[in-house]
């Protein structure tokens, strides 16, 4: 048989209907829903008197608006209304909801894998661009708009043209103190914020194989920042071990059968991609973003780019505009940049291992007196597990605030806002203008780098720290 990529295999298994001059009608196995991008979709159903076809393949949670101090006190009445609306819609259409007071509540892309809803070979969608996160399991997972949310609710399908595939091959091994976050930032810095447009990325190579599931999620999460709607990794033993015993995966003998099926989905040797790029992991250093898109990233040892060295007039203007917004000088070493805030959280870096590694850095130290630092676990489950190991204590002893689960300062839809003109070292995925608050200046980093910046008050090379987990 002809060798196939995992994308081709999943695609073929999900075709409901094919017709000339039309995209394929694709079946959707799992539809995740949150409060921000769903109200208009439910309203659309009501207006046409339509039903949700498969409420049992749909799962909802609250995350974007959730307050992280007192989760039962939602100050903004518009936020509250949006959350109440989701609750009403889930009741009306019989959709399971991890509501604000539910132990499963958390960021939609954290809880899917945590509960085992996310599985290899599934087609997964959500009205959220970081749905690509679930690709870490070898699922075909992508973000959709609200019209498509309505379409999936009504039909459990989507019209989709078969995607092109892009192999991002990561050879070698990441150095000590260099994380999955640095890897994906370095990939986007190297190839740009649109190299993945029109493609589904498959991450391959030794460096990817040796990543844990949580690290793989960090990488796949930011596929959209490279322009790709989806990014995935062929399932292997690491995937299987992670899923074993999770609530919604098959149990016992059925699990072994599922595991065999999952592993068979992996891309066959010799399968063809539409394009391939390569990057060597050992050359990657810890990254810090300096500008207003995730491709504007440099190694922590470097200085901020000079617009005069740009290759085109439009690049030059883009750099100048970014420097102005960010309040930075060309050629300034990134380590000289002082910060006001640190945010450890978001669907990129708020899982237990992220918090463990950040805690390793801050253990026994104090947050710089000029810095306000918060840790926001990705889910209630992560929060409880972290507390059980005493991570919260390490953080609060150092001067961090320990918060409730949600999206929080990643997009500042709740009260966790970076004030105008202030600067934040953030473990999230987007440094767009105003992302963390109007006029806020975001620098994307790994949890380790964010933790070290919190202690020093400016960016530092975390590799110079003596940390138990580095040895």
């Amino acid at each position: 048989m002809e060798p196939k990529t995992i994308v081709e295999k999943i695609w073929e298994q999900h075709i409901v209907h094919q017709e000339q001059d039309k995209p394929d009608l694709l079946y959707i196995d799992l539809h995740l829903v949150h409060e921000v991008t769903s109200p208009q979709a439910f309203e659309g159903l009501r207006m046409k008197d339509r039903k949700v076809r498969r409420p049992d393949l749909t799962f909802a949670t609250m995350d974007h608006n959730v307050p992280t101090l007192d989760r039962y006190f939602i100050k903004d009445p518009v936020s509250k209304k949006q959350m109440d609306t989701l609750k009403d819609n889930c009741e009306e259409f019989d959709i399971p909801l991890a509501d604000i007071d539910h132990p499963d509540q958390g960021i939609v892309h954290v809880i899917g894998p945590e509960l085992g809803l996310t599985q290899p070979g599934k087609t997964i969608v959500c009205g959220d661009s970081h749905t690509s996160t679930h690709g870490a399991f070898g699922a075909l997972a992508f973000g959709i708009g609200t019209s498509e949310v309505e379409h999936v609710l009504a039909t459990q399908t989507l019209w989709q043209a078969p995607p092109k595939t892009l192999n991002v091959k990561v050879t070698g091994e990441l150095g000590t103190g260099v994380t999955a976050k640095d890897l994906i930032l370095a990939i986007i810095a190297k190839f740009g914020v649109r190299f993945g447009t029109g493609y589904v990325i498959e991450y391959t190579g030794d460096a990817i194989r040796s990543l844990s599931m949580e690290e793989r999620m960090t990488v796949c999460n930011m596929s959209i920042e490279a322009g790709a709607r989806a990014g995935l990794i062929s399932p292997d033993e690491t995937t299987v071990q992670f899923l074993k015993g999770k609530r919604f995966v098959p149990q016992g003998e059925d699990f072994d059968k599922a595991a065999a099926r999952w592993k068979a989905l992996a891309t066959d040797p010799g399968a063809q991609y539409d394009a391939t790029v390569e990057i060597e992991a050992s050359e990657i250093e810890p990254q810090v973003s300096w500008g207003t898109n995730p491709g504007m990233c440099i190694p922590v040892t470097a200085s901020i780019p000079n617009p005069d060295t740009a290759s085109s007039q439009s690049d030059k203007e883009e750099i100048e505009r970014a420097l102005e917004y960010m309040g930075l000088e060309a050629d300034q070493p990134i380590t000289s940049v002082k910060i006001d805030h640190v945010f450890i959280g978001s669907c990129t870096n708020s899982r237990l291992s992220d918090l463990r590694r950040a805690a390793d850095v801050v253990r026994g130290k104090k947050v710089n007196s000029n810095v306000k630092a918060i840790v926001v676990p990705g889910s209630q489950t992560v929060k409880l597990l972290a507390e059980a190991e005493g991570l919260n204590k390490i953080f609060t002893d150092a001067g961090f605030e320990w918060r409730e689960a949600g999206c929080s300062m990643c997009l500042a839809m709740n009260d966790d806002i970076v004030p105008y003109g202030e600067r934040c070292a953030s473990t999230s995925n987007r440094n767009f203008e105003g992302r963390q608050g109007n006029g806020a200046r975001t620098h994307l980093v790994s949890p380790e780098m964010a933790a070290a910046a919190a202690i020093e008050g400016h960016f530092v090379d975390v590799r110079n720290y003596t940390i138990p987990s580095f040895t």
Binding site: I144, E150, H151, T155, L411, R430, G434
Partner: protein
């Protein structure tokens, strides 16, 4: 959704690459549960200062673009968040056509679903349009049936293409769900064949 066959309108030039949907509609306006009324918040943080005063240096505030309905921008327009509030805001503000050398995939899709025509032209063609629209008030005709963009007063002519399916959708203003529901029996068959089991 309103069908769109041909559209003639004033061009507004947004000469920037990588305009993300966080800029098109900032997150503080995503809390509404309606589809309407987002136009007033379009490019909010570029149009207005922190205290709500109009930013004269942002060209959408230039009166000469009042009533513009065709937006021309740089590469990778609509990147970032999947929020459909972005096309809702563009449409509500009055834009019917967006022209750029490249678009982010989700945004492109979201436009089509809302009756906004996204037009991919070459980099040099968009640059020509940007330059002209910056210099003068400039009216362009976009013909979806013919897949052509042209200007009656000078000799700008360009062609574009859309997938046949998306073209049909826009030309007819179809309700996609209604179309899909005509295939219900196929969906039933698929579910039977694959034994799609309940997960919870």
């Amino acid at each position: 959704m309103e069908p769109i066959r041909q559209h003639k309108g004033l061009v507004y030039p947004l000469n920037r690459a990588n305009v993300d949907t966080d800029q098109i509609i900032p997150k503080q306006f995503l809390k509404r549960i309606e589809r309407q009324g987002f136009g007033q918040f379009l490019f909010y943080n570029w149009r207005f200062d922190d205290d709500g005063t109009v930013r004269e240096n942002f060209n959408l505030n230039d009166r000469k673009y009042d009533g513009a309905s065709i937006l021309v921008a740089g590469e990778n327009f609509g990147c970032g968040s999947s929020r459909e509030h972005a096309p809702w805001a563009l449409l509500d503000y009055g834009f019917k056509v967006v022209i750029a050398p490249s678009f982010a995939d989700i945004f492109f899709n979201n436009c089509v679903k809302n009756g906004i025509l996204p037009v991919k032209l070459s980099l040099s063609e968009t640059e020509t349009l940007l330059k002209r629209a910056e210099e003068e008030q400039f009216v362009l005709t976009v013909d979806l049936a013919e897949e052509k963009v042209y200007d009656t007063s000078s000799d700008f002519k360009a062609t574009f293409s859309l997938s046949p399916y998306q073209r049909e959708m826009l030309l007819n203003g179809w309700d996609e769900i209604a179309v899909t529901l005509t295939h219900s029996s196929k969906i039933d068959d698929y579910e039977v064949k694959t034994g799609t089991v309940e997960v919870h």
